[in-house]
Amino acid sequence: MTEFIHHIPALIIVIPLLWGFATPLIGRLSKKGMYAWVVTALAITEALTIAQIYLVLTQGTQVYVMGGATYNTTIPPDSGGIPVRIILTVDAFSAFMAFTAATVTLAGGIYSITSEEGTSGESMYYTLLLLMLSGMLGMVMTGDLFNFFVFLEINSLASAGLIAYRVGKGISVEAAFKYAIISSVGALIYLFGVGILYGEYDALNLAMVASRMQFTGLDKVVMALFTVALAMKAGSVPLHYWVPDAYGKAPGAISAILVTASQASLYALFRVCFSLFGLGSNTLTTGWFLISLGLLSMFVGVTMALIQTDIKRLMAYHAISQTGYMLLGVGVGLATLGTAAFSQYGLQAMEGGIFHIINHAMYKGLLFLTAGAVIYRLGTSDLNKMGGLAHNMKYTTVFFMIGALSIAGIPPFNGFASKLMIYESTYLFNPILSIIAIVVSVLTLASFVKVFHSAFMGPKLYDVKEVPKAMLVGMAILTSLIILFGLFPNIAIQYLVGPAAKALANQAAYISSVMGGA
């Protein structure tokens, strides 16, 4: 048993991967069995990610050597001091991201049981879903630059397939095509950077490269390639054009999971800025890069959302806008890294940004699921054709209201907790940042009020029933977490977010977890 717990990081990635490929076989035998199979896989992964958080909190950063003699011999004695194997490096931030991804996927998976029931190729849907999860988890847990690329591509390909899952007279395919083009370009540009780093430092391990980093001219090229490619995958303005297409046209549950997929890239962006380049680079420049992307994303995203008339496209623009908060919070942390201001407010700004990651995953996931529920019943995503759903779909309405209040940062829901942290720390860096953040928050509220009115309020126009139970369960999982994090933000900060922020900020600890020594 004690031996087993050290294999958790590998199992988290492997279980969805293998179970995913087995899904079509079981789907042949029995539909019900397949649902049970998939939900079991998701539940096990979720349980393992929780166990992993516990493990990381109690025992510190976990490293796992793929195919090594033992699980933690990062540098074999005959390798000349180079970590030759693929190493998973799970610190508190990775564990946090893995938990986020697994939770949303669990809710989305349960939701899909009825929402995708009876579509052709249902078993492929679950295969791709599990592959997508595996990709996300790999992205956040790997400590290897090239391995990250592989997981990124696994995730992108699975996502592209799922976005196009409902052809929708070709529109979904158009969205998937754009997504696939832009993400493969991004991934290739990233791979270029990996190649340059390998050429310079003879290593692919992130910690190894970080410890050897010289900041030559080529490294500056790598900085540009990495940060822009990952910012694009995270969906920040002005590289956000694929987001409304992809999120807007994917099936409901997939949109929710795509949010966490983007966040996995966001994780990588932060990881690269902090752990790879860290204090050797000009953190003011990289910090302001994140901050300005954050401000642009927040404002452009929300103002575009305000004028949308397609329910999911509107929410997709909000996903961009909320990503801005994370970039802003963590960007302020990065810009102050290594100065006195960091302990004064920089770390808290990072906590706010990182807390916002999980909050956003929960409430935006919930909102996409409610949007999916509305589309499931009405068959249209056009807000102009909706109305009066609150008369019949009470639970969906309540779930939507909770999600909307949360994303708008209305107390006492979780969005407020993280936004409060961001407002009350970033203003010390520059007062304008907080002002824009507050204004964007109310614009968010406004556009959700628009959805609330046009979809749920008004006279009873359609005689529809409430959505089936499985969909409600999926929504309820996320809702309960929203309320939990909203009412007990301290617990989240203490056990999830605080350690994650500290782990992210501490480059030396990350390097030494793999390289050993101080």
Binding site: I181, P238, T303
Partner: protein, 119 residues
């Protein structure tokens, strides 16, 4: 003082959700007490439950619902030039998607070459 437990502390502020929730529920009770003193009956199935249309004739329920695209006219109107510019760059053309990406990468290359590394 009250409920130091669970107070969420930020660099320059604090917030205690549980305490607010309790106070809110108690205030809700207060409001409910006043509300419940009031008359609760009304004449159902009469003209008075019809929505107010200021004397206009509304032939169907659909007409009584204000649709999504009519909302926030005043706001969009006030920011018209901004929205015109914003709509112009959201072309939906896959060539432009790649072009923006390459453009931003080149821009950041220049920025990082100038200020990328601590002097």
């Amino acid at each position: 003082m009250v409920g130091a437990l669970n107070t969420y502390v930020t660099p320059s502020g604090f917030w205690n959700p549980i305490l607010w929730l309790i106070a809110f529920l108690i205030s809700l009770l207060l409001a409910y007490i006043i509300w419940s003193r009031g008359e609760k009956s009304y004449k159902k199935e009469t003209e008075q439950v019809k929505p107010f249309f200021a004397g206009n004739v509304i032939e169907s329920k659909e007409r009584a619902h204000v649709r999504a695209h009519n909302i926030y006219w005043g706001f969009v109107e006030a920011l018209r030039p901004y929205y015109m510019a914003l709509k112009r760059i959201h072309t939906g053309d896959v060539n432009d998607y790649v072009a923006w990406f390459i453009g931003v990468t080149s821009f950041m290359l220049i920025i990082y070459f100038l200020w990328g590394v601590k002097p």
